[in-house]
């Protein structure tokens, strides 16, 4: 391992005994873990070859500073958690939060060791292993059977240390017939840092989880995230991702529909500009009959930004009557922008309805002409089209406040585009 990732720094991390033991086990096998390589399909087109892990160091304790609050997103929340540089630094549960809802360090749960790793026996990649070996105590959100939580839980993940590697981990368990909305907000100071986050979520029978990530990292942060979500009988999950920030920001999402009638909806909006690279890998796995999944990812790329979308719909032999859709649309706003879009199907049974579509194109010339022919200047016409392009994704945001903030973030990027386009003209 590179120098800063020493066994001692892992061993020094606090937490319940079972967690410390697990770190040790993972650590012992770390040298045998395969290093990610752009030759692998799941890393193809990525910038992983540029990563010098030894430039980052895991942290020994939480930072002293606190991130700026996000009052627009925390209004009406039942709980607000701050995770700084991977460490849980505050947990505020509203007095009106329902009995039985647990939000806090996993060590406070009697069965925390069962929750940790419940969806992921083995990490999917090196960063998952590093998260286990060098991550502080994970945050757990547990909704007991039958509890539908009104109001949402905000998890504010913030990165403040220069040169740090942060390993936040969020564990969510929705019991049978329960429901909750979780909003992850990812922000950072203007630092060079690496964040390798993991989300593990389980949705019990007829449960409903809505989970959203608003990624507003600063321009020198690398993000390598993984989400593993298991959906059981008649349960539903809505995963939403908004990608605005970061230098290289990658999220892999595995959505596994394990019980009959399970549903998954995965939606993302991203806007890369300047030198950014935004990278999404999705797996919609259908492992039970009558399951359905719907994926819609829409992105805009400006400057010399890049995006990658690769997605696989996998239908197992037992998953008869599966319905699955996968759509990725990209708009290139500059000649130097670049988007890769690779949808895939792997179907092992008959009697399924699956579709996929992907496009990478500039703003539609006919649509622009139509608006211009009504008296709308070119720059404004493009802007209307881009705002319209993101409309259907914004409508899928689980919280109006999130949609508003994302829309504002997109507008800021469009303003920058207009300014640059205007000065170039």
């Amino acid at each position: 391992m590179p120098n800063p990732f020493t066994p001692e720094s892992s061993a020094a991390l606090p937490g319940p005994e079972w967690l410390r033991q697990r770190r040790g086990t993972v650590l012992a096998g770390l040298d045998d873990v395969e290093r990610p390589d752009a030759d692998e399909e799941v890393w193809r087109y990525s910038r992983i070859g540029e990563l010098d892990l030894s430039a980052f160091a895991p942290t020994a304790g939480p930072p002293a500073s606190r991130p700026a609050a996000v009052p627009d997103l925390t209004a009406g929340a039942v709980a607000v958690v701050t995770v700084s540089d991977g460490w849980i630094t505050s947990v505020e549960v509203d007095g009106g939060a329902p009995d039985g809802l647990f939000v806090g360090p996993v060590g406070e749960l009697p069965d925390g060791d069962e929750l940790y790793g419940a969806t992921l026996e083995e990490p999917v990649d090196l960063f998952g292993h590093l998260n286990r070996a060098y991550g502080p105590e994970p945050l757990a959100i547990v909704v007991p059977d039958g509890l539908r939580v009104e109001g949402h839980v905000v998890v504010h993940l913030h990165v403040s240390g220069e040169g740090i590697a942060a390993f936040p981990r969020l564990l969510v368990r929705c019991g049978a017939d329960s429901g909750v909305t979780v909003l992850e907000v990812q922000t950072s100071e203007d630092v060079e840092a690496l964040v390798a986050s993991v989300l593990e979520a389980t949705v019990g029978p007829a449960g409903r989880l809505r989970h959203a990530v608003l990624q507003e990292l600063s321009p020198r942060v690398w993000q390598l995230g993984h989400q593993e979500v298991h959906v059981h009988r008649d349960a539903g999950v809505e995963l939403f991702a908004a990608g605005l920030g970061g230098d290289y920001a990658r999220t892999r999402t595995d959505c596994r529909l394990l019980g009959r009638g399970a549903e998954g909806r995965i939606t993302a909006a991203y806007f890369g500009d300047r030198e950014q690279a935004l990278d999404y890998r999705t797996f919609q796995e259908h492992a039970a009959p009558d399951t359905s999944s719907e994926l819609l990812f829409k992105g805009a790329l400006d400057g010399s930004a890049r995006s990658v979308y690769t997605g696989l719909i996998r239908v197992r032999p037992e998953a008869v009557r599966t319905r699955a859709d996968q759509t990725n649309r990209n708009i290139k706003l500059s000649p130097d922008a670049w988007a890769e879009s690779v949808p895939n199907l792997e179907i092992e049974t008959d009697d399924v309805m699956c579709s996929h579509a992907s496009t990478v194109s500039p703003v539609d010339e006919d649509q622009r002409f139509y608006l211009e022919s009504r008296g709308v200047p070119t720059v404004v016409a493009e802007r209307l089209l881009l705002e319209g392009f993101f409309d259907e994704v914004l409508e899928a945001a689980p919280l109006p406040a999130l949609a508003d903030r994302l829309a504002a973030g997109l507008r800021t990027k469009l303003d920058r585009h207009d300014t640059l386009a205007g000065s170039a003209a």
Binding site: D366, L371, S373, R374, G375, V376, P377, L385, G388
Partner: protein, 275 residues
């Protein structure tokens, strides 16, 4: 622009699509309140004329002029032509997901320095005149609309924007009889009440049964091959393009230059590559 003669004037207009010259010198004058019909066989250059006037990408003007109330149209960007008072009713109105009529007209008003609220109100007044439900105004432009609804939508915008000259590119295509009557009546009213000048490009005489043309022009080979009053429509109906153009050629030798023989028109050898 004050003091200028009020007229949409096209003189010697020539235009290419790629290397192919489609318009070979068009001369037309449309004055406020006038309805001019431009008819012609497929491939004669009808749609090209409308697109060139509006500045659609892909068309290159190679000669001639077009002015609107004294303002040079060809030197303007498409949106500036619209702001100058020109409106193009598209044959196939483009679907624009995510953009509503309200948003479009608000931006058009803003760019023209007009009162956004007034345009918003005008849109509702127009919707009432055309029997269009107000809910329709918030829907994405042309998405999932029938052919007839799209043309109503074009007419709605024409009225709300208060254009001074309208080019109607096959506005009668894809319209049922009722929709055709509604759309035509509204355009006729605009010419009578507001002095809208209309250049109605059409394949069929059907439109002209409801919209009364002051002048009728026959386009062939990218040029105006014959012009006349409304009676020309009846002759076209009775004799076809071949018959009319053959006679016109005999009566007016200057327009016969380069005219094909009547028999050529059946084969559509001048297909507009973008039509």
């Amino acid at each position: 622009m004050s003091g200028s003669e009020r007229v949409l004037r096209i003189e010697g207009l020539r235009a290419c699509v790629g290397d192919v010259e489609i318009l070979n010198g068009i001369d037309l004058e449309v004055r406020p309140g006038e309805v001019h019909a431009v008819m012609g066989p497929n491939g004669s250059g009808k749609s090209t004329l409308s697109h060139v006037l509006m500045g659609r990408p892909g068309y290159t003007v190679t000669g001639g002029t077009a002015t609107i109330d004294g303002v040079d149209l060809l030197g303007l960007a498409t949106w500036e032509r619209a702001q100058a008072g020109l409106f193009l009713c598209l044959q196939h109105p483009t679907e624009v997901p995510g953009v509503s009529l309200d948003a479009l007209l608000a931006e058009a008003a803003r760019a023209g320095g007009r009162d956004v609220v007034a345009v918003h109100d005008a849109l509702r007044t127009e919707a009432g005149r055309l029997g269009i439900d107000e809910r329709f105004l918030d829907r994405p432009l042309n998405v999932d609309l029938s052919g007839g609804e799209k043309k109503r939508n074009e007419t709605l915008q024409l009225g709300a924007l208060g254009a001074r000259y309208a080019v109607l590119d096959e506005i009668d295509s894809g319209l049922d009889v009722d929709a055709l009557a509604t759309v035509s009546r509204r355009i006729q009213e605009a010419t009578d009440e507001d002095g809208l000048g209309v250049l109605a490009i059409t394949h069929f005489s059907r439109l002209l049964e409801v919209l009364e043309p002051d002048r009728v022009h026959v386009l062939a080979h990218g040029t105006i091959a014959a012009s006349g009053g409304p009676e020309l429509v009846d002759r076209l109906e009775a004799e076809g393009y071949g018959g009319v153009l053959g006679d016109a050629a005999a009566d007016e030798p200057e327009t016969s230059v380069g005219l094909p023989h009547a028999a050529d028109f059946g084969e559509d050898p001048f297909a507009d590559p973008l039509a």
